[in-house]
């Protein structure tokens, strides 16, 4: 008797996928026998757009590449551009950049933990983790004015300084996450049902991780000790001696499965909290921009010829930007972006082969995929059903920031 084969199309729109991508799986019973991945449903040609704009515009365009890790692309952008242009950011700016990047890592990892809880059908845990995530988002809003897309970075520095009140809020947040993360370890790592659903699922061997070019927590969960913050240390990371977190250091053995990925991410939150604490304790004084005047900066970019590679360890893995400034334009002549999911999605096909249908969401969520989000128009209605225009929305957002400042006891 031949077993009947089903063809299951997953995506581009599917409840397990937060962003559009298509996984075409051929299924025998519950086992997957063939996989094909089609990407590009959210391809917006951002690199092309960036090559037509000036460097500062492209920097803020790069912030819109990803909706979750919105600071990782600008980070790689400024590091790469500074290498290519020969600018060096003041120490204080470098520390502030590191703090922002680590804050983002905390919120991104908690987001992932919530999503993976949802994928295994544990919605209560999703609500709980995301409730805990609000704290770091509030702090980010306090510092930058926005929950997401912080617009903090500039080639050769940062645009906003950290004030005493911000540091106080950061310290409070550090205490909060020390406790919160301990609770998360109990809830995720010690939970038998969670362990049963993730242990042995999406198991990536060390060799396979190398072969498919995996990066970030995905590679670290497989036991590869790679982390840009450790391998090519930049900014404040060079002062701190960050070490990549791998399961063999924590529990002594590596499975490379979704459970290990959870382990790595939870312990990385601890690491981020430690890094932020170090940075605010050792925050150097001084200015925050190498070239404060944008016109001067742009004219310097226009005069400079150079190439550079910028790398940053984003929450999901390494972000690499390649720049070429040709000395005729005030923007990059060539700009190439490699996001972590670009490489990590390579692991889907080998992981899904032989897996079960029930494992698809975990495998998909395992690498924390971050396809570039589609352009959207959000129409918001107020309680009487009237559409709120963007000016009103902006005013309401500003009011909320004020309210948070008041609640956190911040006085300018």
């Amino acid at each position: 008797m031949t077993k009947s084969q089903y063809y299951i199309p997953i995506g581009p729109i599917h409840p397990a996928l937060k962003e559009p991508i298509r996984v075409e799986a051929k299924v025998e019973g519950e086992k997957i026998v063939e996989v094909d991945v089609k990407r590009g449903f959210a391809h917006r040609g951002i690199e092309y757009m960036g090559m037509k704009r000036n460097a500062i515009q492209a920097l803020y365009l790069s912030e819109r590449i990803c909706g979750i890790c919105s600071i990782s692309h600008p980070y790689a952008f400024v590091v790469g551009s500074e290498k290519a242009l020969g600018i060096e950011a003041p120490p204080r700016a470098q520390y502030i950049r590191t703090i922002i990047a680590e804050l983002e890592r905390i919120h991104s990892h908690i987001l992932w933990l919530g999503v993976v809880a949802h994928e295994v059908g544990f919605d209560s845990l999703l609500f709980w983790t995301w409730k805990g995530r609000e704290k770091v988002l509030d702090v980010l809003e306090l510092i930058s004015g926005n929950r997401i897309n912080y617009s903090m970075y500039m080639i050769g520095g940062v645009r906003r300084d950290l004030k005493e009140s911000h540091i106080k809020a950061l310290k409070e947040m550090i205490d909060y996450y020390r406790i919160f993360n301990q609770e998360m370890k109990n809830l995720f790592l010690a939970d038998p049902v969670y362990k049963a659903r993730t242990r042995g699922v999406a198991q990536l061997s060390k060799e396979m991780a190398l072969k498919v070019n995996a990066v970030g927590p995905t590679a670290r969960a497989a036991g590869l000790r790679m982390d840009i913050r450790q391998d090519i240390p930049y900014d404040a990371y060079a002062d701190i001696e960050v070490r990549g977190i791998v399961p063999q250091d924590i529990v002594g053995e590596v499975y490379g499965d979704a459970y290990d990925a959870t382990l790595v991410r939870i312990y990385e939150i601890d690491q981020s909290v430690d890094i932020i604490e170090y940075c605010i304790d050792n925050l150097p004084e001084g200015k925050i921009m190498a070239i404060p005047n944008y016109v001067v900066l742009l004219s310097k970019i226009k005069r400079t010829k150079g190439e550079g590679i910028g790398a940053h360890e984003a929450p999901r893995g390494e972000v690499i930007h390649y720049f070429k400034y040709d000395g005729t334009r005030d923007g990059p002549a060539v700009w190439k972006v490699v996001a972590p999911s670009y490489n990590n999605i390579n692991s889907w096909a080998p992981l899904l082969l032989g897996a079960e249908v029930a494992d698809i969401p975990v495998v998909v969520a395992y690498i924390d995929p971050c396809m570039c989000c589609n352009d959207r128009i959000a129409v918001v209605r107020d309680s009487s059903g009237k559409i709120v225009d963007s000016t009103t929305l902006h005013r309401m957002a500003v009011e909320k920031t004020m309210r948070i400042k008041k609640e956190l006891g911040v006085k300018e």
Partner: protein
């Protein structure tokens, strides 16, 4: 068939749907509060049904349409009929004497079966996978469910629900058999979320894996019927557990001398309260605090652990009686 029964037969489904939806609303609200959300208003399920009834009913091109359309009706009819076999507190079951626990077992199965057949008939791969899972799950939990019913037949020497409801089980069993009955109760409580396709056993409808599985292709009126049958079944299942295991009446506890309308009102409210407690314990609390199992894990849980509990319970009952 007397006019009385006919009146019941019309009143009960309406009441059953109303109560089922109210309980569903309470369930959603409590679950939301447990996860620090505000949650929908309790009347939300009514709005959901109303909205679904207004929506267009789409039948997929490659579905077997008569089968696809018939299954929601069968599912709702079976849940409704199920309700008619359950004695509401001191009220007698409308269909008393026309069937017994065995029929209840069949009716419980029939609804799941209808959903599975509807899933197969819809011709979508998601639905097919969901239906397969439902069949596997059904084969797993039917055994402990049947064991529970056999246990009761052993105690009462009868399958009749009215007999069971008239005499509380705890008053006729000894200590050993009592322990057995408790184990049967635990087994039934574990079966409940699977029977009702709720977390952690909503494997057949896992929305992140197979996009609601069997229900993937259903829409509009058909989906509303499934929704209603699900609500009614949730209420009926909890009511069944109350009838079997918590049969105490308020008047027997407090030695109240109530008669006529006041007796019926008090006992009906007491019965509804007991059902609510069981519902919240067996469904709401469980679905809020567990992750979804994989199908083979769920199968193992029922075939090994729950079966052991149920069979040990049955053995104890057998020894005690």
């Amino acid at each position: 068939m007397t006019p009385n029964i006919l009146a019941y037969a019309f009143a009960f489904p309406v009441l059953g749907i109303f109560l089922g939806l109210v309980y569903k609303g309470i369930d959603r609200r409590v679950s939301a509060r447990l996860t620090s959300r505000i949650g929908p208003p309790i009347r939300q399920p009514f709005w959901d049904v109303g909205k679904l009834l207004l929506k267009e009913t789409v039948v997929p091109e490659n579905a077997i349409s008569w089968l696809f359309n018939a299954m929601p009706l069968i599912a709702l009819a079976s849940s409704m009929t199920l309700l008619l076999y359950i004695p509401f507190g001191v009220l007698k079951a409308p269909l008393e004497g026309y069937g017994d626990l065995i029929v209840v077992l069949y009716l419980l199965t029939l609804q799941s079966l209808a959903m599975a057949i509807g899933g197969f008939a819809s011709g979508s791969p998601f639905s097919s996978v969901g239906a397969q899972r439902e069949m596997v799950l059904m084969m797993s939990y039917e055994m402990p469910l049947a064991t529970v019913i056999v246990g009761f037949a052993l105690i009462y020497r009868s399958f009749s629900l009215t007999t069971i409801a008239s005499t509380p089980v705890w008053s006729i069993v000894g200590p050993i058999a009592g322990l057995g009955v408790i184990m049967l109760f635990i087994a039934l409580l574990i079966v409940t979320p699977a029977e009702l396709a709720k977390l952690p056993f909503d494997i057949a409808e896992a929305e992140t894996e197979i996009a609601e599985g069997m229900l993937a292709e259903y829409s509009g009126r058909n989906l509303a019927l499934f929704y209603l049958s699900d609500a009614v079944r949730g209420f009926a299942m909890a009511a069944l557990e109350v009838v079997l295991f918590i049969p105490f009446t308020l008047s027997s506890i407090f030695n109240l001398n109530l008669t006529g309308a006041s007796l019926y009102t008090v006992e009906a409210l007491w019965f509804l309260f007991k059902v609510l407690v069981v519902y919240l314990l067996a469904v709401t609390l469980v679905r809020t605090s567990f992750a979804r199992f994989r199908i083979e894990q769920a199968s193992r849980i029922f075939w090994v652990y729950v079966n052991i509990i149920a069979l040990v319970g049955l053995a104890l009952v057998w020894m005690g009686v």
